[in-house]
C-alpha cells in the first residue's frame, strides 16, 4: 500500500544544511501497522510528514496504493489535501473554535463533490461511536480532556475512510494509565477497519505492542526493521538491541563457531551465542545480553560462572536490578521477585544462559538497512 | 510534591529587608527635599535680603550688584523667538553677569503659566510682556503694581497703562502675503481686511483665532459691532487657522499659505527685507495696534535682576534695540521704522489696555464664534 523509495529530506543549504532523512526505504502492506521507532531527532517524524505531504522530499519517491505521491527526480508532488490520508498530530490539533462534531465533520465538508448534509451527520456519528464519544458531539472541543481530544483527532482522521492513517506520537502527552488504554484502543480500531497505518513513537513498549512491523531509525537512516518479535529477540544491530532494552553490550572474540552456536570470550568471562552464519574463530564481535539472561549463584563459583562484585541494587517492583562490576566493567543483572540478600560489596557469581547472547553489529555511517522484506537489502548481511 | 506545599524559607537575617526599606524611604524623603529646594522659590526677597519695596526704591546702579548675585532673569514674552537672542546679547552687554533667559510663549500661555506657577508656590517668571498678558496678571493680583519703572515714556493720546506696567513695544497687525504664490494663483495682493472677505480669497488666507487682536484694536475706534461684522464675514470665508502670528508669517514665507491676516508688522518688515519675493505686507488704514505691556511678577525668584531688566527694556537704549528688530516703540526719542509706523499714513487704533479679563474673555468668545472656531465648551 505504501512504498517509500530512497526518501531523502535535507533542510538548509550547503554546509549549514542538515539531512533529516537520509535515504529511507520501506514498504507497508495493506492493512498492516508499521511503527517508526527511534530516539528524538532520528528522522521518524520527518518521514511521517513526508508521507503526509507536509514536507517535500529532496530525494526519493513515495507511492500510495500504486500512485506516485511525491518524487524528487520527476519533480512530482501531490499536496497533502489531495492525498488519501488521515493524520493524528502529537498535539491533536483540534480546532478550538469548532465543536467536536464540527471538527470531525470538517474533512467531509471540504470534500468535493459535496456530500448531502444528512450523510455527513450520519458518518460523523459513526466516527464518534468508533472512538467512544457518541454523546459529546455538541461540546466545544476546548472543553474536552486530553484523552478525549485525542479520540476526536482519531475520529476526524478516520471519518473520510482514508487509505492510510498516520499517527505522530499521539500517546506521548497522556499519562501512563491512559496511554496503555489508548494504545489498545487504537490498535483495536485499526485492526477492525483494516487500514494501513504508520505510527511514530520513541517508546519501544508501544512499538512492540501495536505493530506488525517495526522500523528502527537513527540519525536519518533505518537501522533495522522486522517483526516485533524478531527485533526484540534477535536484534542484529547494537543500536537496536540497546534501544529495546538489551542493556548489556560487550565486545568479545569468537573462540569457536559451528554454525549454530558460537563461543565467545569476553573480558567478563565466556558465553555462548546463537550464530546465524559462520564466523571465523578469532574474529571480534559485539555481543548483547539481556539482564535477565543470567543465573545468579550466591554460594560460590559454578562451572562457567563469572565472578563479580555488586556495586548497588535497585528495586523495580517485579524484580531487583543489580549493577555488578566484573571483568573491569559494569553489567546489569535482573533477578526476579525476591532479593537474594545481596548488597553493596558482595561477591556474586553469574552464569550466562547458553545461547542467550546475541551477536550484533554496530551501525556503520552509511549502513544499508537490514529489512528481511525489503527487496533491496543485500543478502547475507550480518 | 505540589507547589503549594513548598514554601521557601529564607535565612532570616533579621530585617535586612526592613532596614533596606527604611534606607530607601529616607533616600526618597531626602531627594524629595532636594527637589523641593531646587524647585521652590524663596518668596519675595532677593539673595541679598532686600525686600521688594527696598528694591523698588533703588536706582539701576544700585540694583546691578544684587542682580549680578542673582545671576539671571527669566522673561516670558510673545516677541518672536528669533529676536530674543539679540535682545539678550544687548542686555547682557550692558549688564555683564546677568543672564537673560527669554522664553517665547504664544497666545495666553504666559498668563496661564504664571498663574499655575503662583498656585504651585513655585514662581519662575520674573518679567512678563505681551499684549494683554501682563494686564490679565495684574488683574489677578500677580504683578507688582508698586514698581515704577525709571524711564517710563509718556504715552500717546488714547492710551493708558495700569500701575506697575509699562509698554515695551507697539505691535502693529499687518496683512502679509507671498507675492510669488499669489501671482501663481492668479490673484492680486489684498489691500485691506475687507478684501479678504471676497470669494476669491476663500480658504486661501490664515487668521489667528487664539487672540482677538483685530477686534480689540479696531473695535473701540471703529465701532465694536461693525468690526465684529467684518470678522464674521472673514469667518464665513473659510480661513485657515494658525495658532500664532509668528507661525502665520512663516507659513506665508514658506508658501504654505498665500495670505496671513494676523501677522506682526515687525516680522513682516524683516521677512520682506530678507526675501521680497516670498514676503510682502500691507499696512491697513486704520492700522490695528496692540500694545505690549511689561510687568514684574510678584514673588519672582530674581527681583533685582527683574527690575534691572524691565528698566533697561523700556529705556531709550533698550527700545532702540527693540525697534531695530522691526518693532515700534512708544518712545518719542526713538525713531521708528517708517515702513511699519506712520501715524499720518496709517491711523493707529489702539486696543483698550485696561479692560477687565471678563470683557477680554467675552470678546474672545465672540471673536472665536464669529470665526467658527470651536473653543472650549462655551
Amino acid at each position: 500500500m505504501i512504498k517509500v523509495t530512497a526518501l531523502q529530506k535535507r533542510f538548509g543549504e550547503g554546509a549549514a544544511g542538515f539531512t533529516a532523512v537520509n535515504g529511507v526505504s520501506f514498504t507497508a502492506e495493506p492493512g498492516s501497522f508499521v511503527t517508526l521507532l527511534g530516539p528524538s531527532g532520528c528522522g521518524k517524524t520527518t518521514t511521517l510528514r513526508l508521507l503526509a505531504g507536509l514536507e517535500r522530499p529532496t530525494g526519493g519517491a513515495i507511492h500510495i496504493d500504486g500512485e506516485c505521491m511525491a518524487s524528487a527526480e520527476k519533480r512530482a508532488f501531490v499536496p497533502p489535501h489531495r492525498r488519501p490520508i488521515g493524520m493524528v498530530f502529537q498535539s491533536y490539533a483540534i480546532w478550538p473554535h469548532m465543536t467536536v462534531a464540527g471538527n470531525v465533520a470538517f474533512p467531509l465538508r471540504v470534500q468535493r463533490p459535496r456530500l448531502p448534509r444528512a450523510e455527513v451527520g450520519h458518518r460523523v456519528e459513526e466516527a464518534l461511536a468508533l472512538v467512544g464519544l457518541e454523546q459529546l458531539g455538541g461540546r466545544m472541543s476546548t472543553e474536552l480532556s486530553g484523552g478525549q481530544q485525542q479520540r476526536v483527532a482519531l475520529a476526524r482522521a478516520l471519518v473520510r475512510q482514508p487509505k492510510v492513517l498516520l499517527l505522530d506520537e499521539p500517546l506521548s502527552n497522556l499519562d501512563a494509565a491512559l496511554r496503555e488504554r489508548m494504545r489498545d484502543e487504537i490498535r483495536e480500531v485499526q485492526q477492525r477497519l483494516g487500514i494501513t497505518t504508520v505510527f511514530v513513537t520513541h517508546d519501544q513498549a508501544e512499538a512492540l505492542a501495536m505493530s506488525d512491523q517495526v522500523i528502527v531509525m537513527d540519525g536519518g537512516n533505518i537501522v533495522e526493521s522486522g517483526l516485533p518479535q524478531e527485533i526484540y529477540n534477535f536484534p542484529r544491530r547494537t543500536f537496536t538491541a540497546t534501544f529495546l532494552g538489551v542493556s548489556n553490550n560487550f565486545t568479545g572474540t569468537v573462540t569457536a563457531c559451528d554454525g549454530q552456536v558460537a563461543t565467545i570470550t569476553t573480558p567478563h568471562g565466556e558465553l555462548t551465542a546463537r550464530a546465524v552464519d559462520a564466523i571465523d574463530p578469532g574474529q571480534e564481535v559485539r555481543v548483547a545480553m539481556r539482564p535477565d539472561a543470567f543465573t545468579i549463584h550466591r554460594s560460590g563459583p559454578a562451572p562457567g560462572a563469572w565472578h563479580g562484585t555488586v556495586r548497588f541494587a535497585t528495586y523495580h517492583g517485579d524484580s531487583w536490578l543489580y549493577h555488578v562490576d566484573t571483568g573491569g566493567a559494569a553489567i546489569k543483572i535482573r533477578a526476579a521477585k525476591e532479593k537474594i540478600g545481596l548488597g553493596h560489596g558482595d561477591d556474586i557469581y553469574l552464569v550466562p544462559e547458553p545461547g542467550a547472547a546475541i551477536i550484533t553489529r554496530d551501525t556503520e555511517p552509511d549502513a544499508t538497512p537490514l529489512a528481511p522484506t525489503s527487496p533491496t537489502a543485500p543478502k547475507g548481511e550480518i | 510534591m505540589l507547589r503549594s506545599d513548598r514554601k521557601v524559607n529564607f535565612a532570616m537575617r533579621k530585617s535586612t529587608i526592613r532596614r533596606a526599606a527604611l534606607v530607601a524611604a529616607g533616600l526618597a524623603l531626602a531627594s524629595g527635599v532636594a527637589a523641593c529646594s531646587s524647585g521652590g522659590s524663596s518668596p519675595s526677597s532677593s539673595s541679598s535680603g532686600s525686600t521688594v519695596s527696598q528694591l523698588n526704591g533703588m536706582t539701576d546702579a544700585q540694583l546691578y550688584p544684587t542682580a549680578k548675585q542673582e545671576g539671571k532673569v527669566t522673561w516670558y514674552t510673545s516677541m518672536p523667538q528669533a529676536d530674543l537672542p539679540k535682545i539678550a546679547a544687548a542686555f547682557e552687554k550692558t549688564y555683564p553677569g546677568v543672564t537673560l533667559n527669554a522664553l517665547y510663549l504664544s497666545g495666553q500661555t504666559p498668563v496661564t503659566r504664571v498663574e499655575t506657577e503662583a498656585k504651585a508656590g513655585s514662581v519662575q517668571a520674573d518679567v512678563v510682556s505681551g499684549s494683554g498678558d501682563a494686564v490679565l496678571l495684574d488683574q489677578a493680583g500677580l504683578i507688582d503694581s508698586t514698581f515704577k519703572p525709571k524711564d517710563a515714556p509718556a504715552l500717546p493720546a488714547g492710551l493708558s497703562m495700569p500701575a506697575g506696567l509699562a509698554s515695551d513695544r507697539l505691535i502693529t497687525n499687518v496683512i502679509t502675503y507671498n507675492p510669488k504664490a499669489v501671482a501663481a494663483a492668479g490673484l492680486t495682493p489684498p489691500t485691506s481686511f475687507q478684501d479678504l472677505t471676497s470669494p476669491k480669497w476663500k480658504g486661501k488666507f490664515s487668521i489667528d483665532p487664539t487672540t482677538a487682536d483685530l477686534l480689540d484694536a479696531l473695535g473701540p475706534a471703529e465701532g465694536y459691532s461693525t468690526v465684529l461684522g467684518l470678522i464674521k464675514q472673514l469667518g464665513d470665508n473659510s480661513p485657515v487657522f494658525v495658532t500664532s502670528h509668528s507661525l502665520a508669517a512663516s507659513q506665508v514665507a514658506a508658501g504654505t499659505v498665500l495670505v496671513a491676516a494676523s501677522t506682526y508688522g515687525q516680522t513682516a518688515v524683516v521677512d520682506a527685507q530678507k526675501d521680497p519675493t516670498t514676503t510682502g505686507f500691507v499696512n491697513t488704514n486704520p492700522l490695528p495696534v496692540e500694545v505690549s505691556e511689561v510687568g514684574i511678577v510678584k514673588n519672582d525668584p530674581n527681583p533685582a535682576a527683574a527690575r534691572l531688566f524691565m528698566d533697561w527694556l523700556i529705556s531709550k537704549a533698550g527700545q532702540q534695540i527693540v525697534v531695530s528688530l522691526g518693532n515700534t516703540s512708544v518712545r518719542t526719542d526713538v525713531s521708528n521704522n517708517p515702513q511699519v509706523w506712520n501715524p499720518a499714513k496709517w491711523k493707529p487704533d489702539f486696543e483698550n489696555v485696561s479692560q477687565s479679563a471678563a470683557v477680554t474673555d467675552q470678546q474672545l468668545q465672540e471673536w472665536q464664534s464669529a470665526l467658527h472656531y470651536s473653543g472650549s465648551g462655551s
Binding site: A93, R156 | S244, G375
Partner: protein, 591 residues
Amino acid sequence: MANAQGTSPVPLTTPPSALFARVRQWFSEQNIIFLITTLVIAYLVLVPVGTLVIASFRSNFLGFGPSSWTLNNYSATLGASSFPSLIGNSLEYAGLVTLFATVIGMALAWLYVRTNTPAKWFALLASLVPLIIPGLINAAAWVLMLAPNGPVNNAANAVGLPRIQVYSLTGMVLVQTLQTIPLAFLMGLAMMGSMDRSLEEAAAVSGATPRRTLRSIVFPLMRPGVLGAALLVFVLTISSFEVPQLIGVPAHEWVLTTEIYNATSQYPVKYGTVAVLGMVVLVIALLGLYLSRRLGGMTVRETVTGKGFRPTIIDLGRWRWASFGAVAIFGLISLVLPVCALVWASLLPVYQNPSGAALHKLTLSNYTAIFDTSSTMNAAENTIVIAVLTGLITTLICVVAAYLLVKTRVRARRVLEMLATAPIALPSVILGVSLLYWYLAAPLPVHLYGSIAILVIAFVTGALPFGLRFIEPAFSQISTELEEAAANSGATRFQVFTRIYLPLLRPALTAAFLYCFIIAFKELTSALFLYSPKSEVLSVSMYSSWIAGSYTSVCAMGTLMVIVLAIAVLLVRKLGSSRTSRTIQIPHVAR
C-alpha cells in the same frame, strides 16, 4: 516529644500567642515588600487620576473662592453645543485611523510571516523605524511635504492629480495612520508568528485546500486577536495629541486631546471643563482596553503553543514581486519620504521646497545653532537626565513588582498587576493634566511643579507597563528551583535577588531600561503640561519652535533626536536578543 536519648528537647523560643503569631507572620518580609511596592505604584497611578475625578465634580477647582461638589462641570461641558461634534470628530478620526492602520499593518505582517516575499528585512525596517521618530517630527515632516505648495502637491499637480490639503481630517488620518501602522504590524507579527502550525496542517491532511484552510481555520482563529489589536490601536489613537494639534487644529478639526490642551492654554483656565473632558477620554480608553483584553485573551490561550516549527510559507510565485512592490511603496511612504523631508529641511536656513537652486543654500547652521543655544542645550541635558532617571526608577520598580507577581504567592498579587498595567489606559494628556492638578492642589511639603522630579514621575508612571512587559516574562523563565536551592543553602531573600536573579535578568533589565529611556526621550504631551523653563525638555523645545515657526530648527533637532534614539534602539535589540544568559530550566519530564 522524646528524642533518641529519651530526654525532652528544650524549646528554642517561647511560643507566642496565636494572634500575635499571625500578625507577626503577616508582617513577614514578603508582605512588607509587597505593601511598599503596591503603595508606591498606587500612589503613582491612582492619586493623579483620583484628583482628576474629584476635580471634575468640584466647582471653582483650584480657584481662589470656595469650592463645592457639583455636577455643573459635566452638564456644562457635555451639554455644550460643540460637544457632540467634538466627540463625533474624535471617534471618527480614531475610527478611520484604526481601520486603515489595522488592515495595512496586518496585511504587512501577513506578507512578512506567511509568504515568500523577497527582502523581508526591508519590510521590517520600514515598519519599525517609524517607531523611533517622535510623533511631532513625523507630523512636521508631513506638513512640509504635503503643504499646498509643497513637493507632493506640485508633483500631483504636474500629473493631473488633485491637490491634497494636509490641513484636513484626511490629512490627520493619513499622517496618524502612517505613524500607527508599525504598531499594528508588530501585533500582527506576534500573533501570526505564534499560531500553532499543526492546526493548519490538520486541515490540509483532512482534505482542505490552502484557501479553504485560510477561510475556515486561520481567519476565524485570528479574528479575536485582530480585533483586540484594533481596539488597542483605537485607544492609542484617541489618546494621541501631536497630529491633532499640528494638523487638526489648523483644519478646525478638534478632538478631545487638543480641546483639553486648548482649554488649559486659555485664560482663565477652565479646570472643571478640562477635568470632565479628561474623564471622557479616560472612560473611552478604559473601555477600549477592557474589550481588547477580553477579545485578545481567548486567542492567545488556545492557539499559541510555542511549537518550534516555522509557520507554513505560502509561495506567491510571480506575485511575490508585486508583494515586494507593495512593501517597497509602503516603506517609501512611511519611512523614506519623512526622513528625507526632515533632513532636507534641517539643512536649510529657511524652508524651501527641494529644487536645484535650493541645493546651494544647504548649510549646517541649524545644527550648530542647536549647540550654541544655551536653552536648547539645557533642554538636552534635562532630557538625558530625566530619561536616565526614568529608565532606572521604572526598571527598579518593575523588577520588584515582577518578582512579587511571578515568584511569590501573595494573595493580592492581582491588584498589583492591575495597578502596574493600568497606565496603558492613561492617555498622556490625562497623565499630564491630572499630575498638574494633583501637585497644584495637594498639600505636600515639597513643591514639585516645574521641577525635573515631576516629569520623572509622569514618565515613570507611563512607562511602568512597558517595563513590566520586558521583565515579567524573563522572571517566568527562570525556574523557581534556583531560588529554592539558594535559600536552602542559607541565602537571604536579598542575596538571592542580587546574586541569582539580577545577573540572569540582565538582558531583560537592560532592554527595559533602554525602552523606558526611549519613551521618556520622545514624550511630549504630558511634558507640555508639566514643564517649566528650568525643566524644559527637547520635545517641548521642538514643539515651541514649531509654534514659533522655526521649521528648520525643529527639523534639525528632530534629526538629532532620531539618530540618538536609533542608537538606543539598536542597543536594545542587541541586548534583548542575546540569549546568552540562557535561562536555566528544569528539563520538562513529559517529553
